[in-house]
Structures are given as structure tokens and as C-alpha cells.
Symmetry: C2
Subunit: 402 residues, 2 copies
């Protein structure tokens, strides 16, 4: 058996891959004892276990030969129908023909990268932005350009065009952004649409958290403001279960057909079984009632987390107050490093994600993303105490050069 010369065989693509640092932070920890403010995990109490049991039982009695067979690449027609009805009831006038099901919305992001990005192409995103999206852009050879302030979106795009680096698309998470927790105002949404139309850009509206609003009023989706150039990505991961790996894309037919062909050679179709379960879950009206309970639970956790932050955090720390979603974003004075804080909290089994990974330009060393949906309530208070004490230690021991 001869030894392989792997380096000479790997593709350029393989050399552009960046593994997720979050995974290495979380691996090797004592999971039993762990207080996780880390992942974007939904709380297991929100999983509708009994409803799913009943649905699977009925499904396997009534239509096993469909739900266990291959299915169409664009997804289960019943599921697409149910999703379309939901959007329609929310004032977005679409049919199932406008929707394709993907294997998680991560795959939807990756398929968009696949069909739009040539090596070296720029794409515009927020600073900070979702790491999984950056990872996909990088993989395809894209160059994400971060916009820290929504007001500088147009000037950033003008500058890129002047440098002959016109972006392919704007990637945005308008509602309760990951990692910042921030929601775009109506004026900011109108501005994104105006800029995209003026400079002929696609907008990818990543919308995993939109349904999880705990205060304030819904604002229109970008999709509803421009059906032609906005691609909306949705997911069941935060509102039903991430275990199914089911997401979806809403886009105009010429874009959607390309996404479907790109998906075909990727995995043929998403889990047909899980799609059939999700379709029945929606059809039976179970989604809405479970969503109400989920919002209730998360609203309480957000309140508790914010209270604990107010009570325990040192004065020099600031944080966002999200109207929904799963995250607070925390900022230390610029000279302090969140990774130093993490080293201390991990000793006491508290994990969070240093904000740096969400900054495509390498900034954000003094920031951290704090998830409030997953941890049990007693662990939230305990965790914030540990975090505050670790920050205090880093602040008091960091040597600041004069």
C-alpha cells in the first residue's frame, strides 16, 4: 500500500475552507455541567415531541411509500403549499411555485454562493455577520466586505464599483441579526432596496429568527418590498427543530430554477421523511400554537438575561437589547480581548462565542455573542455571574500600555 501525495491532489477550493472556531471551542467540554451561551441552539423544551410522535405514526400508517421514497428536488409539494399559505396570510403574495425546500438554510446560503460567486467576487454583508455565511462566501472564493453602519451601505458599494469590484449581492439578516441581535428600521430596509435597485444587486434576506419577536412591531420583509431581486431564506431550525435540517428559499422563478438545479447534484433533495412530517405539522395548525409557547419561553429568558446583565456586568461593558431572536451582542472596551475572557469562563464550564469570528475584516476582538435561548433559567444567572467576574478579572489584569 503506497503512501498518497494528498497535497498535490487537493483542489484550490479545499485550501479556501475555514473550519468553524465555534466547534473547537465547544468540543471537549463537560456537556453535563456546561452552561452554554455559545451555539444558536433552540431550547429543547420547545420541541413538540408528542405532536411529532402522533404525526409520524399517522404518516407511516397512511403514506409510507411516499414519505420514505425519493422526492422532487424542489421539495414536498404539500410543504411548499403550507409555507406559501403562511406567507400569504402574512401579506406576502406567493404560491408554492415560488418556494424550494433546502437541506437547512445553511444549504440555501451555500447554493446562492454557488450560483452567484466567482472567485474574487465581492459580496456586501454587515459587520459583524453570521459566520456560516462568511464561511460559505470564503469557500466559493468570495470576498465579503463588511458594512459597520447601515448609513455607509451606498458609499461602500460606490467605492467597490469604482475599484471595479462591484458586489454580487447584499447579504442581510434584517430581523434580530446574528450575532448582533439588531433589527433594521423601516428606513434602513427601504435604503437597502433602493441601493440594490440603483446598482442592480441581488439581496439575500436571511430570515431565521423573524418569527421570534418578543417586543415591538413586525416590519416588512425585504422580499415584500422587491419580489424580483430579493431571495428570502427561511428555516424550521429555530421554530420547530434543527434536527430535520429543513430550510427554504423564496425567489423569483429564474433564480429559483437555478437554485434547484444546483441542489440536484448536491443532494438530490432534502429528507423526504422530515419534509412530510413538517408539512403535516403545519397543515394541522400545530406550528402557530407551538410558536406562541416558544415566544413566551424566550421572552422570559431574554428578560432574565438582560436583568442579570444589568445587575452583574461591570460599567465598562455594553450590550444590545434585541426585540427578538436568540442573541445579545456584548462589547468590552476596545483594548480588552473576549478570548481572554473565554479562557477564564471555560474553566468554570461557561461557553460563549467570541465576536471576532463574525467580523469578516478581523475586527471585533473585544466583542462576544451571548445566546439566551438554550440555557435553563438557573444557569442563565449563574452564567452571567461567571462571565461578569471573568470580565472583571481581565479588565483588572490586562496591561494597558500608556
Amino acid at each position: 500500500m503506497s503512501k498518497i501525495n494528498l497535497d498535490s491532489l487537493l483542489s484550490q477550493n479545499a485550501s479556501h475552507m475555514r473550519p468553524s472556531p465555534a466547534r473547537s471551542i465547544l468540543s471537549g467540554l463537560n456537556i453535563e455541567e456546561l452552561i452554554s451561551f455559545g451555539g444558536g441552539y433552540p431550547n429543547p423544551d420547545t420541541f413538540p415531541v408528542d405532536d411529532l410522535k402522533r404525526i409520524v405514526d399517522r404518516l407511516l400508517r397512511e403514506s409510507p411509500s411516499i414519505s420514505l421514497q425519493y422526492g422532487p428536488t424542489e421539495g414536498d409539494p404539500n410543504l411548499r403549499e403550507e409555507l406559501a399559505k403562511r406567507y400569504y396570510s402574512q401579506g406576502v403574495d406567493i404560491t408554492k411555485e415560488d418556494i424550494a425546500i433546502t437541506t437547512s438554510s445553511q444549504q440555501a446560503i451555500d447554493l446562492c454562493s454557488k450560483i452567484f460567486i466567482n472567485r474574487g467576487d465581492t459580496v456586501v454583508c454587515s459587520l459583524p455577520s453570521y459566520f456560516g455565511a462568511l464561511q460559505s462566501f470564503w469557500f466559493w472564493g468570495g470576498v465579503p466586505v463588511g458594512v459597520a453602519d447601515e448609513n455607509s451601505l451606498e458609499s461602500t458599494i460606490i467605492k467597490l464599483i469604482e475599484e471595479d469590484r462591484k458586489p454580487k449581492f447584499i447579504y442581510s439578516i434584517p430581523d434580530f441579526q446574528n450575532p448582533s441581535g439588531i433589527t433594521l428600521t423601516l428606513a434602513q430596509r427601504e435604503n437597502i432596496i433602493r441601493v440594490a435597485q440603483l446598482y442592480d444587486l441581488i439581496i439575500i434576506e436571511d430570515s431565521p429568527y423573524r418569527e421570534l419577536r418578543y417586543s415591538g412591531d413586525d416590519l416588512p420583509t425585504l422580499l415584500s418590498m422587491d419580489r424580483e431581486r430579493v431571495i428570502l431564506l427561511g428555516t424550521f431550525s429555530k421554530t420547530l427543530t434543527p434536527g430535520f435540517r429543513l430550510g427554504w428559499v423564496v425567489a423569483n422563478p429564474s433564480i429559483l430554477s437555478r437554485i434547484v438545479v444546483a441542489k440536484q447534484s448536491t443532494d438530490l433533495c432534502a429528507s423526504v421523511f422530515d419534509q412530510a412530517i413538517a408539512a403535516r405539522y403545519l397543515r394541522d395548525g400545530l406550528f402557530e400554537s407551538n410558536l406562541v409557547k416558544t415566544i413566551e419561553l424566550y421572552r422570559g429568558k431574554r428578560e432574565l438575561m438582560l436583568e442579570c446583565f444589568k445587575r452583574y456586568m461591570p460599567k465598562c461593558v455594553s450590550w444590545t437589547v434585541p426585540e427578538g431572536g436568540l442573541f445579545l451582542f456584548v462589547t468590552l472596551p476596545v483594548r480588552y480581548n473576549a478570548t481572554d475572557v473565554l479562557k477564564l469562563t471555560l474553566i468554570e464550564d461557561l461557553a460563549f462565542i467570541p465576536g471576532e469570528i463574525f467580523f469578516c475584516n478581523g475586527e471585533g476582538k473585544n466583542t462576544m455573542r451571548i445566546n439566551f435561548s438554550y440555557a435553563q433559567n438557573e444557569k442563565i444567572e449563574k452564567g452571567v455571574k461567571i462571565l461578569a467576574s471573568a470580565i472583571n478579572r481581565v479588565v483588572s489584569t490586562t496591561h494597558i500600555p500608556l
Copy 2:
């Protein structure tokens, strides 16, 4: 709402995509009446519906918070453990660390393309070969070079090297190949390994049908002959259910780790729920007993199909006699076109796949792939009659220039 200029925004990748012609052949047909010799569909009678019902019920009672949550990219540890045990019992000495779970083996093929193929790279495959693999190679800008006769494998590779087009890997389906139904002999397997070692090539051993042997004796997997450079791809699609979209990769650690990172930005992980079901299904020993029943069923269908072929086919037609798997491959005299035959059979609701799509060099117009696993027995006989009569009509009406 301004009109989008999509062509200027799409990537080169998007222009390399080829949709599956099989899909368009099969769409729009009367599914109720259809006799399908088309897809590579397992027979629904093989789906272990009652076992799955029991497993899901127990799973959702005992560990819902794990099976409905996010999971590791490399897959459910229990499932990887069960798969490793199975290989071990078959004489392949691997552990779960050598296995990663993918969202179908189509995804495994695509991830291999992703990490090995640069635009313009050649890869060597059989002539004919699985269309989904060709589709993925093309998408990544690969140039599949087909080898019609296993004896010309080495000379093809020498020629490519002389032309400075050394292939990245050999893609092979050694057992009951798709579409040909042919199984490589031991000498042919040894030759592939020798050639790969001599010229430092990877081998992708696509192995979806291996468990489905109806006659003859098992031959060693390529993997067992070289653990360093063979990547074996497996799947539950033909032996449990394609509805779960679960496949796996066995490879050496340096390759496997790249596949896992490549998967991370693709869809994070395969359906955690379906993986948990499959793991219990294996652990409870249900896989083996269902496999025995499946082999029994398909052996009968193969016999029936071959009998009907002998009885009804005109003399000028030849076909392969597969020892396992799902397909016969049928050859008409070179001057006749299988697509002309298909046009006639579709009128009578019989579908099959013209063999041309499996030939990366555009040949094979006179061939067809015939699936025998899906159709009910009475439809097999009816379908072969329709097929034979359509072939007779094409043969008698095709104008052959002198």
C-alpha cells in the same frame, strides 16, 4: 421595482450546471398508470414501516432533546459506531473515526468533487457511469474521461499524463454498476488498485448496491485493498429508505477531515432525527433481517425481468445479466436510437432512461437503462411487452441509409 439583470450576476459555476434529463422524462406522466423502469427507486414493499414506527416512538420518548437538536457535522456517533461494526464484521477493520455521515451519497460525491477538482481537471470513470456523479464533476468544472473497457484503464491514464491532464481520481462503482449492472472481477479490482498506486491517484468507490447481491460471491471492496487512497461511499437509499437522504464516507483521516470541513459550510450536518432512527434500526439488528427480505424480493424481480426479456425481445437486442443491484443495461444495434423507443413507450405509460445520459462522451444513443426493483411483477411483464413492441416498431421503421 426594477428589472434584474440576472445574466450579469450569475457565476461561471451556474453556467456549468446540467439539469437531469431523467427528471424531465419522468415529470408530467400519469403516475397512477405509469410503469416505471426509469428511476433507481427501491420498492416501497422493502420499507420497514412498522419497525420505523416503533423506533420513532421510543426515540421521541427517550431522547427527543438529542434527536431534534443540532448534531455534529461528522454525524451521529452511534450511527457511525454501528456502521463501523458492520464493516468490521465484513472484514474491513475500521472504527467510527473513519466514517462521516453525509446527506445522501450524492452529497458525498459532491464533497469529493469539491475538495479535489479544479476547473479543467480530468477524472476517470466508466463508460457508461452514474449520471449524478457526472453532473457533479461537470458542475465543479471537471472533465470526466470515460473508459469503456477496464483493460484500457492504464493506457487511458498514461495518455492523459502525457497530455499533462493527469486525472485527480478514478470514480468506480465496482458492484452491479449503475447503469450497466456489471460487477468488476477480482483481477479488475487488483488492476485499479495497482494503477492508482503507480500513478498516485485517489479512487472513489461508490458502493450503493453492494449489499444487494442475488447470485455469485462477494468480492473484496476496493477499500479493503487500499485503505490509504480509496474513499468508499455508502448509502441507506437502497437498503433502508431514500427518504432519509443518508449516506456515508469511509476514508483515511486526512481526507475525511477535509470532507467534514467541506460539509460544514454546506449544510452543517445531515438530518439528526433520521440519523438517530437509522442508528437504532441498526443497533436493534433490524437491518440484516430486512436486507434478507429485500434481496429475496429483488432476486425474484430480476428473474422475472430476465425471463420476460428472453421471451419478448427481438433478436437484435442484447442486455447485461446483473448479479445484483437494480438495473439491466440494454443495447440496440448502433444505428437505432433509444430516445425514439422512449417516445413510443411513453404513449403507453412505460418510462425508462435512455443510456446516452450515462456516457460522458456523448455515445450510447442505442442503449437504455432498465430498472427492475420498483415495478410490481404484473407491470414488469406488461412493460417488457410494450418495450419489445416499441423496439420492433423503431427497428422496422428506421430508415437506414445504405
